[in-house]
Symmetry: C2
Subunit: 145 residues, 2 copies
Amino acid sequence: MSEARNTERVMRMSEGFSWEGASDAPYKEEGTHFRDVRRVNLAGMLGEQAAFHLRYFEIKAGGYTSKEHHEHVHVIFVVRGEGDILLGEKWQPLKFGDVAYVPPGMTHQMRNDFREPFGFLCVVDAVRDKPVVEGESEFDSICGE
Amino acid sequence: MSEARNTERVMRMSEGFSWEGASDAPYKEEGTHFRDVRRVNLAGMLGEQAAFHLRYFEIKAGGYTSKEHHEHVHVIFVVRGEGDILLGEKWQPLKFGDVAYVPPGMTHQMRNDFREPFGFLCVVDAVRDKPVVEGESEFDSICGE
């Protein structure tokens, strides 16, 4: 769907946390700085008149997102499974319903050391800077871009 | 919590969809244009550097939000129970994981005709216009303000 979508809509979730009509991007199964992450753009990127974007990220068992930082903030709300978030130098557990706030410039990463998929909403400003991946920089970052 | 909160944080959800440290506003049990709705401000209203606000709304069995419209948009993600949303003149069902987009100026309302609480996240621009309640206007609107 590439057309502008500033009209009302309801996107129903089906089994496996998929939404009809939403782009579901299968990222590389393995990379040097992220692993086993899928991303679904839910709102804000299709011509909607919003100052924010709403995305769903899901990390498979054993997967992780890029370790990165940027000036824009993340607001995260967990909707599936459990995992951990690195905020600065401290890992903290997250489960369904937990909210995490990543302030400007803070190094962060998400990982799933559990058996079930770890899924979370991530809200960001529509206008934002590009993430800086820490450790390796040859690939684009995926969470927060 | 009234201090600025532009630092990292994790807010854990406890039973009954409550978050320690978050304001949980018990709205009037009964009003003329809304009924049995609670609201929790989760992110964006405490000094965070974000262009959006993330709120959790919950409608008890038999409750409903204001029928209203405004120029700012709503992005809704259901996280508890099920309910219905009015978009324009059409009621549509919503359940866990469903996403609804309310475009500028569209009349909308949420209701819960089920036995369990109906809870949803609602993301809005940080800077936004005030809702116009339809039908009755003597009370402030609660969802979208």
